[in-house]
Amino acid sequence: MAAETVKTTLSETATAARAALSGVEAIPGAEKPDPVMTAVGVRRSFGGIVAVDVDRVEIQRGSITALIGPNGAGKTTFFNLMTGFDTPDTGTWSFNGTSLEKVAAHKTAAMGMVRTFQLTKSLTKMSVIENMKLGATDQSGEKWWNGILPFRWRAEEHAIEARADELLTRFSLGHMRNEYAGTLSGGQRKLLEMSRALMTRPQLVMLDEPMAGVNPALKQSLNHHIRGLRDEGMTVLFVEHDMDMVHDLSDWVIVMAEGRIIAEGTPDQISSNTAVIDAYLGAHQGKSFLEDM
C-alpha cells in the first residue's frame, strides 16, 4: 500500500534518474551514463584483513544510490576512502572527473562532496545555529586576520545565518536554534548533521546510516528530506540497513560484502538477487528474509 503511493507520486527528478539508470546492466561495476564519482581498483587492508577491495564503482549523477551490505562489509571504510579520511593502498578515484588522490579530507568538502558519520558528530557545546554556520565553506571571517575586524565578515555572516535559518526551518529544527546541540535528541542530531552538511552547498551527499536509531515517524520525514536533496539536483549516496527504506528511497542499489561489490541494480533487481541473499544469510540458506520486499 505504502509502496504504491510512493510509485504514483514519483517526482520529475526521480523519474529522470530511474530512466537514466534503466539502460544500465545490473552487474557489479556497471558503467553509468553520467557518473559523478568513479572509483577504480580501490583497495585498503588493515594488517592481513582486506577491508575494501573494489574493482570499479560509479555513482550516477542526480540519483539516490543506496550502499548496503552486512556488518563489516567495508561500507564505512569505503566512505572514509572516498572522502579522504583514510587513504587506500592502491587505486584511483575521482569526483566530477577530478582525481582525488592525495586530496586532503577538508578539500573534498570544498569541492562539493560532503559526508555525515555513522555515530552522529554534533558539536555539543555549541548552539544549533553555530553548528550550522560552521558548515558554510570559504568564509572570509575564518581567517584570523579578518577575525578581529568584524566589519570584514559581518555582511557575509548575516547571509550565512539567513541560509542556516532557512535550512533549520526546513528540517524542523527552527525552534531549537539557540539551544546547545548537546541538548538535542538522537534523531534531531541526525537532522542537524544532515542540514549542517548541506551548508557546504554539496553536489554529492554521502550519508552514513542516516536512519540508525531514528523513530519511524522521523524516518518518514528523513526519507522525505533525502528525496528533497535529489529534487534540488544533488546526488545522494547512503548506507542503510533498513531494506524497506532502501527499496522506498533509492534509484540504484550497490551491495558490498567482505570488502567487494557483489551486486548492483535497481531495488527490484537486488531483492531477487541470489548473491545478495547469500551474502546476508550465508550460502545454502533456503529462505530469503527479503521476500516480503
Binding site: H106, A109, S122, L134, G141
Partner: protein, 427 residues
C-alpha cells in the same frame, strides 16, 4: 531580592548559611588579634600585583589553546621564556633597542610553535601534552647551559636590558605607590587611565556576577557594576607597590586588557567558531571543509605569542631574565589559575590569576601573622600545627591544593565558566 528571600526557601536557606558563615568569620577574625590591615594590604597588592598580571597574560594565551581549541599545551613556560629571552637578548647579544624584543618574541614563539605543533598536531591531544612539556624543559635547559652562554648568559641570566623602560620610570624607585587614582603621586593621565581600567573591570565583573545570581533582573545588572566599582576602589586604596613594579603593573595590565579584548573579538568571529568546533569534534569540522591542522597550528602559535608578553612583562618588572623562572611549575600554576577562573572565558583567564595570587598571598601572610602572634608556633586543639615560620610555604600549597580539589568537586566550571556547557560534557 527581598521578595525572593520571602518566597523561595532555597534562597532563604542559602542567605542564612551565608550570614552564619560571615558572622563566624568576623568573630574568629576579631578574636585572633592580628594585624588585619597588614593582611589586607598584602592580599590586595597581590590581587593587582605583578604575578597576577603576568599570569593573566599567560592564561589568556593558554585559554586560546586549551580553553577554546582543546589543545593540551603543557609548555606555556617555554613560550614565556621565548618572550623573556627575546627581550633579554636585545641587550646581551644583539645590542639593539629593547623594542625589537617584541617582534623577535613573536618570531621565536612562531618557530617554537611550529616545532611543537608540526609533528604532534596530527596526533591525538595527549601526544601534544607530552611533547609540549618536554620542549618547554628543553628551552630552559638550553638557555641555562654553559655552551650557549654567548647568547643566553647561562644560569646567570640577563640584566641591563630595557634601560629605556626601566630608567625612564616617572616613579621614584624607592617610593611606595598605590593604585588609588587620587593619590598625590598619580598625575592626571594616570588618574584617567586607572579610572577607565577600574570602570571597565567593574562593568565586566559586575555584569557577569549579576547574571550568575539572577539571569534577568535588570536592576541587579544595573547596580552590580557600581557595587563592584566601590569594592575595586576600596581595594585599590589598600595596595602598595615599589616604583619599578608600579610602572610595569600599569603597562602590564594595559597589555592584559588589550590582549583580552583581542581574544574576545577573535573568539566571537567565525575563526573562533572553527576553533570551538575543533575542540568539540575534529572529524566533524574536517568533514565540513576546514583544514583543522592549520587551525590548530594557528591557535597554538597565537596562544604562544600572547604568552611571550607574559615573559616580557615579568622580565621588565624585575629588570632581569632568569632561566629558572620558566620551569614546569610556572606552566602548571598558570593552568591552575586558568581552571580556577573558568575555561573558555576571557574574564576567567584574567580573574583566575588575580584570585589565585590573592589567595596564595592571603594564606601566607595570614599564617605568618598567626605564627608571629602565637610566639613562633601555632596550635590547634592542643596539636602543634606550625612550629617554625619556614613551614608556612608548605601549608599554603596544601591549602591551595585543597581549595582546588573542592572547587573541582563543587564548581567544576571554575569561577566564570558556564555550568550548562560543563554538564553537556558527559553526553
Amino acid at each position: 531580592m527581598l521578595a525572593a528571600l520571602k518566597n523561595n526557601p532555597k534562597i532563604r536557606r542559602r542567605a542564612i548559611v551565608a550570614l552564619v558563615v560571615a558572622a563566624l568569620v568576623v568573630w574568629a577574625a576579631l578574636s585572633l588579634h592580628l594585624h588585619w590591615s597588614l593582611v589586607a594590604t598584602a592580599t590586595l597588592t597581590a590581587v593587582f600585583g605583578v604575578d597576577a598580571m603576568y599570569f593573566a597574560i599567560a592564561a589568556i594565551g593558554l585559554n586560546v589553546q586549551f580553553g577554546y581549541s582543546g589543545l593540551l599545551n603543557f609548555g606555556q613556560a617555554g613560550f614565556m621564556a621565548c618572550g623573556a629571552y627575546a627581550i633579554g637578548m636585545t641587550a646581551h647579544y644583539w645590542h639593539i633597542s629593547f623594542w625589537w624584543g617584541i617582534p623577535m618574541a613573536i618570531a621565536y614563539a612562531t618557530v617554537f610553535g611550529l616545532i611543537m605543533g608540526i609533528p604532534t598536531l596530527r596526533l591525538r591531544s595527549d601526544y601534544l601534552a607530552i611533547v609540549t612539556i618536554a620542549l618547554a624543559e628543553l628551552v630552559r635547559v638550553i638557555v641555562r647551559s654553559v655552551t650557549f652562554k654567548k647568547y643566553f648568559n647561562a644560569s646567570d641570566g640577563i640584566n641591563g636590558f630595557g634601560k629605556t623602560f626601566i630608567e625612564t620610570t616617572p616613579f621614584n624607585q624607592s617610593g611606595r605607590y598605590s593604585l588609588w587614582p587620587f593619590d598625590d603621586s598619580v598625575n592626571l593621565f594616570g588618574r584617567v587611565l586607572l579610572l577607565i581600567i577600574f570602570a571597565g573591570m567593574s562593568v565586566m565583573l559586575g555584569r557577569l556576577i549579576a547574571e550568575r545570581i539572577r539571569r534577568d533582573n535588570k536592576a541587579l545588572r544595573l547596580v552590580s557594576p557600581f557595587v563592584m566599582f566601590g569594592i575595586v576602589m576600596v581595594g585599590a586604596k589598600q595596595t602598595e607597590y615599589g616604583g619599578l613594579g608600579f610602572k610595569s603593573l600599569i603597562v602590564g595590565w594595559l597589555v592584559v586588557f588589550v590582549l583580552g579584548f583581542l581574544v574576545y573579538m577573535l573568539m566571537r568571529s567565525p575563526w573562533g567558531r572553527v576553533l570551538k568546533g575543533i575542540r568539540e569534534d575534529e572529524e566533524a569540522v574536517r568533514s565540513l571543509g576546514k583544514n583543522i591542522y592549520s587551525y590548530k597550528l594557528q591557535a597554538l602559535i597565537l596562544g604562544g605569542a600572547i604568552a611571550t608578553f607574559a615573559g616580557m612583562m615579568f622580565s621588565l618588572s624585575r629588570g632581569s631574565v632568569q632561566p629558572d623562572n620558566y620551569s614546569r611549575d610556572t606552566t602548571f600554576f598558570v593552568l591552575t589559575a586558568l581552571v580556577l577562573g573558568g575555561l573558555a572565558k576571557v574574564t576567567g583567564s584574567i580573574v583566575g590569576p588575580m584570585v589565585y595570587w590573592g589567595l596564595s598571598q592571603f594564606l601566607s601572610v595570614f599564617l605568618f601573622e598567626l605564627t608571629k602572634a602565637g610566639g613562633g608556633r601555632v596550635e590547634l586543639l592542643g596539636i602543634p600545627i606550625i612550629s617554625n615560620s619556614s613551614q608556612i610555604g608548605a601549608y599554603v600549597q596544601i591549602a591551595l591544593g585543597l581549595m582546588l580539589v573542592l572547587l573541582m568537586v563543587f564548581r567544576p566550571q571554575g569561577l566564570f565558566g558556564n555550568r550548562r556547557e560543563m554538564a553537556l560534557d558527559g553526553r
